[in-house]
C-alpha cells in the first residue's frame, strides 16, 4: 500500500511525444483513473509504473521509494491486463500461485493464500480448472486474484473490462471497486470509457495528446470541465463562444450570436472573449405560465430536430442569431415537441462553466 508520485515524467516514440512532462500524486488507498481516447498516453503511463515502458525523463516513487530504476519484476505491482493474460498452460490455482512461487512462499502458505483470494473473487472450487474451461468474466476474476494475491503495493488495471459484454462490464466494475475498497489498496485504472471512469473512481485524470487536461473527482470532471476537450470527451455538450458584455454582481453576461447567457463567474472582464459549456441536460423546458426557478435565466428557442432515444429525448434548438443548442430531456411530453415550434428554455447560471483562456 503506497502513494504513487509521478514526477515530471516524459516519453517520446520517435517524433511522437507519448507522455509530456506529467506530474501526478495518487493517494494511499485511492482509486485513481486515467481516462482518455486511444493514443493519449494513458497506457504508456501505466506501463511506465509497471516497468514495461522506459522513461525519458522524470521519476516515479511508491511512497518515498523511487521505483522507475528497478526492473519490472522487482516493483511489486499487481497488473491486470486487457486480455487477462492468463497462462493457458497452468490451472487456475497455478496461475494464482505463480507470483507466490516466484517469491518463494512455502507451499502450505501458498495453498492457503490461493484459497483465500479465490474466495474473495467468488471462484472458490475453481483451483483445479483449466483456463479454457472458464468464461470471460471468470478469467477476469482469475486475473484479479492473481494480481491481488501477491499483496502488491499498487494495483494496476489496463482497460480490464473492455473484452467483456456490456452487462458483465457493469457488474464487474462494481465488484472491482468493492474489492479495492475492502482491501484499501491503491489502484490505478486505465480506461477510455467515461461512464466506467465516473462510476468507480475516487479521482480521474483526463488525458489528451500525452498531457493531463484535468484532475478532479468524477462530479468535478463532469460538471466543471476545465477544457473544451474534457467537456466534449465527457459527453455531447454545448461549447459556446461569445463576448462578455457586462458584469452583474458575481456573474457575467456574455453574448453569443444574438443571445445573452448569464454565467456564474467574475472573469473575464467586459469586452473580452469567453468560452463556456452548458450541458444539454442542464437545460429545461418551461411551459407557458410556469415560473422560472429562483436565480435561473431563460432563452427563447425554436425546435430544429427531435431525436427519441428511449429514456432520453434529444433536441436541437435554434436561438436568435442562429446558434444551435443541444437539449436533453427526461420524460418530456411529446405533443409539444414538433419541429419548428417555439419554446422557452431555462438554465441555472451555475451550470454554465467557463473555460480558462488558453
Amino acid at each position: 500500500m503506497a502513494t504513487i508520485s509521478i514526477d515530471r515524467v516524459g516519453r517520446s516514440f520517435g517524433a511522437v511525444l507519448a507522455v509530456r512532462d506529467i506530474s501526478l500524486e495518487i493517494r494511499d488507498g485511492e482509486f485513481f483513473t486515467l481516462l482518455g481516447p486511444s493514443g493519449c498516453g494513458k497506457t504508456t503511463l501505466l506501463r511506465m509504473i509497471a516497468g514495461f515502458s522506459e522513461l525519458d525523463a522524470g521519476a516515479i516513487r511508491f511512497g518515498e521509494r523511487r521505483i522507475d530504476t528497478l526492473p519490472p519484476h522487482r516493483r511489486n505491482t499487481g497488473m491486470v491486463f486487457q486480455n487477462y493474460a492468463i497462462f493457458p498452460n497452468l490451472t487456475v490455482g497455478d496461475n494464482v500461485a505463480y507470483g507466490l512461487r516466484a517469491r518463494k512462499v512455502p507451499a502450505r502458505r501458498i495453498a492457503e493464500r490461493v484459497g483465500t483470494v479465490l474466495k474473495l473473487v467468488h471462484l472458490d472450487g475453481y483451483a483445479a480448472r483449466w483456463p479454457h474451461q472458464l468464461s470471460g468474466g471468470q478469467l477476469q476474476r482469475v486475473a484479479i486474484a492473481r494480481a491481488l494475491v501477491i499483496e502488491p503495493e499498487v494495483l494496476l488495471l489496463d482497460e480490464p473490462l473492455s473484452n467483456l459484454d456490456a452487462k458483465l462490464r457493469v457488474e464487474m466494475r462494481g465488484e472491482i471497486r468493492q474489492l479495492q475498497q475492502s482491501l484499501g489498496i491503491t489502484a490505478l485504472y486505465v480506461t477510455h470509457d467515461q461512464e466506467e471512469a465516473l462510476a468507480i473512481s475516487d479521482r480521474i485524470a483526463v488525458m489528451h495528446a500525452g498531457e493531463i487536461e484535468q484532475i478532479d473527482q468524477p462530479d468535478g470532471i463532469y460538471c466543471r470541465p476545465a477544457t473544451p476537450f474534457v467537456a466534449e470527451f465527457m459527453g455531447i455538450s454545448n461549447l459556446l463562444a461569445g463576448t462578455v458584455t457586462r458584469r452583474d454582481g458575481a456573474r457575467i453576461v456574455a453574448t453569443v450570436g444574438a443571445t445573452e447567457f448569464v454565467i456564474a463567474t467574475s472573469q473575464p472582464a467586459p469586452g473580452q472573449a469567453v468560452a463556456f459549456c452548458l450541458r444539454p441536460e442542464a437545460l429545461r423546458v418551461i411551459a407557458a405560465g410556469d415560473t422560472l426557478p429562483p436565480g435561473w435565466f431563460s432563452l427563447a428557442a425554436r425546435i430544429a430536430r427531435v431525436e427519441f432515444l428511449g429514456a432520453l429525448t434529444r433536441l436541437d434548438v435554434e436561438l436568435a442569431g442562429g446558434t444551435t443548442l443541444r437539449v436533453a430531456l427526461l420524460d418530456p411530453s411529446y405533443d409539444a415537441l414538433s419541429i419548428g415550434r417555439a419554446l422557452t428554455l431555462a438554465y441555472d447560471p451555475q451550470r454554465a462553466t467557463p473555460f480558462q483562456a488558453p
Partner: protein, 551 residues
C-alpha cells in the same frame, strides 16, 4: 509488440552469444572464401588474377550461364505448374483436398537428389524404362543435362510456390471480390483483375526461393549434369582438385554463387516480403462452383502433379528391394542391397542419426532464443541480428563447407576431420529456419503473458525459460523434427566436410553414384526416406499449423 523492460540484459546476452556464433561460424568462413578469391596461389599477394582467369575460361563462363539458365528455366516451370495447383487448392472444389495438401508438402522434406537419382534409375542411360523402351524398338532421348535437372527441380521445389500462394489466395477478403462483382465485373474478370494481382507478390516470393535453391543445389546437378558444368558442382571439384596452398578458383566460384543468391534474397526481402497486400481476411472467398467436366479436369491435374512428384521416391524404394547383378537390375525381390549396405557397417546410419540430432538440437538452442530476441525486443541490435541470421539462406552448402575447411584446418581452432565441424555447418545452414520458425510461433503467443509473469516477480530470463518455452514447445518440437529431417539428407556441405569415419548415408549414396553401386545407393536412399518420412508423419499435426510454410 515490444516488451522492453528497461535496462534488460537478457536480449543483450542472447545477441552476444548469437553474434559470437554467427561471426565465428558464418561470417569468418565467408570472409576466408572471399579472401581466397583475391589472393594468389600461395595465398600471399592480393590480386584480381583469379577473377580474370575464371572470366576468360569458356568452361567456367559456361558454368555461370548453365547455373543461371537452368535456375531461371526451373523457376518458370515450377511457377507455371504450382500456381494453378495453388489456385485449385484454394478456390476449386477438388476431391481429397486434405490428403492432397499433406502429400504436396512432402517434396519439401524429401531429399531432392534422391529424386534425381531415381530418375536416373528409371530413364538414365541404363535405366529400367530406357531399357524397356529400347528393347521394343522405341528410341529414348537423354534426360541428362538441363531437361532432367529442370524436371527434378520442378517436381521437388513446387511447394515453395504452392504454400505462399495458397496462403495469399486465402488471405484475400471475400469483400473485395464481392465489391468487384457488385460493380459489374464477372466472376472470372474479378479474379483476374482483383484477386490475382493481390497474390502476385506471394507467387514471386516463392519463385525467388525456388531460384535460390536451384543455385545452391549440389546433389541434383551432380547426379544429372553429366558433362555440363554447374557452379555449385564445379566449385566443389575445383576445391578438391586444387593443389595450391590457396584454393583461389574455388573461392571465385564461391563468391559468385553467394553474390547471386544474396542479390535475389535481397530482392525477395526488400520488395516482395513487404508487398503483401492482403492480410487478415475476415472471411476467405468461397469455392468457385464449376461444372463436372472442369472439376474432373482440375482434380486430375492436382492429383496428377502431386503423385507424379512422388513417383521417383516410390520407385527408389521398390528398386531398393530388387536384385542387382552388377549394374543390371532384375525384377526379383531381394534384400541383397540392404545386406550389402549393412555389411559395410552401421556407422553411416549412426552418423546420420547422431549428426542430425546434434544439429537439430543446436538449431533449436540457438534459433529459439534468437527468434525470441528478434520478435520481442525490437531495436537496432536485434534488427541486425535478424538480417545476419538470414545470410545462410544465400550461402550454398558447398561454399560454406569450403569456408569451414579454410577457417578451421589450422590455427587456434582445428575442427577438420571430426564430426563437430559437420554439426556446426549444419547448425549454421539451418539456423534461419530455426529463427523464423520460433518467431512465427511467438507471434501467436500474446506478449502480455510474459509481461504478466514479469509483473508477478519472475525475471525476464526465467520467464522465457519457465513460461515462454513451455508455451512454444509444440512448435519447437515441430521445427526440430523438420531441421532433423533436412539435415539428414544434406549433401552439399557434407560432401566437402566429411572425413574417414564420419561418412553419412548421403555420402554413401554420393560415393555409390560415382562408382557402380546402384543397388547400394538405392538401398541407402530407401533407408534415408524411411528416416525422413516417419518423423514427419509422427509430428505432422504439429507441423501443419505453420512450420512447413517456413522451410
Amino acid at each position: 509488440m515490444n516488451i522492453v523492460p528497461p535496462r534488460n540484459a537478457f536480449p543483450l546476452a542472447i545477441a552476444a552469444v548469437a553474434f559470437g556464433f554467427v561471426g565465428l561460424f558464418l561470417l569468418y568462413p565467408l570472409y576466408r572464401v572471399f579472401g581466397a578469391s583475391f589472393l594468389d596461389a600461395k595465398g600471399i599477394r592480393f590480386t584480381f588474377e583469379n577473377y580474370v582467369r575464371i572470366a576468360s575460361s569458356s568452361f567456367y563462363r559456361g558454368s555461370i550461364y548453365n547455373s543461371l539458365s537452368i535456375g531461371v528455366l526451373a523457376t518458370l516451370v515450377t511457377t507455371a505448374l504450382a500456381t494453378p495447383l495453388a489456385f485449385a487448392v484454394a478456390r476449386l472444389p477438388i476431391g481429397g483436398k486434405t490428403a492432397l495438401v499433406s502429400l504436396a508438402v512432402l517434396p519439401l522434406v524429401l531429399p531432392s537428389f534422391v529424386s534425381a537419382y531415381a530418375l536416373l534409375l528409371l530413364v538414365g542411360h541404363a535405366g529400367i524404362v530406357t531399357q524397356a523402351l529400347r528393347s521394343i524398338g522405341i528410341p529414348f532421348g537423354s534426360i541428362y543435362g538441363a531437361p532432367g535437372i529442370v524436371l527434378v527441380y520442378a517436381l521437388t521445389l513446387y511447394p515453395y510456390v504452392l504454400l505462399p500462394t495458397v496462403a495469399g489466395l486465402k488471405a484475400v477478403d471475400v469483400s473485395v471480390e464481392e465489391a468487384s462483382q457488385n460493380l459489374g465485373a464477372s466472376r472470372w474478370k474479378s479474379f483476374w483483375t482483383v484477386t490475382f494481382p493481390l497474390v502476385i507478390p506471394s507467387v514471386l516470393s516463392g519463385a525467388l526461393l525456388v531460384f535460390i535453391d536451384t543455385l545452391e543445389n549440389f546433389g541434383v546437378p551432380f547426379v544429372l549434369a553429366e558433362d555440363k558444368p554447374i557452379l555449385a558442382v564445379e566449385a566443389f571439384k575445383l576445391f578438391v582438385g586444387e593443389t595450391d596452398t590457396n584454393p583461389a578458383s574455388a573461392g571465385v566460384l564461391g563468391v559468385l554463387l553467394v553474390s547471386m543468391a544474396a542479390i535475389v534474397l535481397v530482392i525477395q526481402r526488400r520488395y516482395l516480403a513487404r508487398r503483401r497486400f492482403a492480410t487478415g481476411a475476415q472471411r476467405s472467398p468461397p469455392l468457385i462452383g464449376i461444372g463436372r467436366g472442369w472439376r474432373i479436369l482440375a482434380t486430375a491435374y492436382c492429383w496428377g502433379l502431386v503423385l507424379f512428384s512422388l513417383v521417383p521416391f516410390f520407385a527408389v524404394i521398390v528398386i531398393a528391394f530388387l536384385e542387382f547383378r552388377g549394374p543390371v537390375l532384375h525384377a526379383q525381390f531381394s534384400l541383397g542391397n540392404f545386406a550389402e549396405l549393412f555389411r559395410r557397417g552401421y556407422r553411416p546410419l549412426v552418423n546420420t542419426l547422431l549428426l542430425s540430432s546434434l544439429a537439430a538440437l543446436g538449431v533449436v538452442l540457438l534459433g529459439v532464443p534468437i527468434g525470441y530476441a528478434v520478435t520481442r525486443f525490437r531495436n537496432r541490435l536485434t534488427t541486425l541480428l535478424d538480417i545476419v541470421t538470414t545470410i545462410p539462406f544465400a550461402v550454398a552448402g558447398t561454399v560454406l563447407g569450403i569456408g569451414f575447411i579454410l577457417s578451421f584446418n589450422s590455427g587456434w581452432l582445428v575442427l577438420t576431420g571430426g564430426g563437430s565441424i559437420m554439426v556446426l555447418a549444419y547448425t549454421v545452414r539451418k539456423l534461419p529456419f530455426g529463427v523464423r520458425a520460433s518467431s512465427a510461433i511467438l507471434h501467436q503467443i500474446d506478449p502480455s503473458l510474459e509481461e504478466a509473469s514479469i509483473n508477478l516477480g519472475v525475471s525476464p530470463m526465467l520467464t522465457f525459460a519457465r513460461l515462454t518455452v513451455p508455451l512454444m514447445l509444440g512448435g519447437i518440437v515441430g521445427s526440430m523434427v523438420l531441421t532433423w529431417v533436412t539435415v539428414a539428407s544434406e549433401l552439399s556441405s557434407t560432401v566437402v566436410l566429411y572425413s574417414g569415419p564420419w561418412q553419412t548415408l548421403t555420402v554413401v549414396m554420393f560415393q555409390a553414384l560415382e562408382g557402380t553401386g546402384a543397388g547400394l545407393a538405392a538401398a541407402t536412399a530407401a533407408l534415408l526416406l524411411f528416416f525422413t518420412v516417419i518423423p514427419v508423419a509422427l509430428v505432422y499435426r504439429l507441423l501443419r499449423r505453420h512450420e512447413l510454410s517456413l522451410l
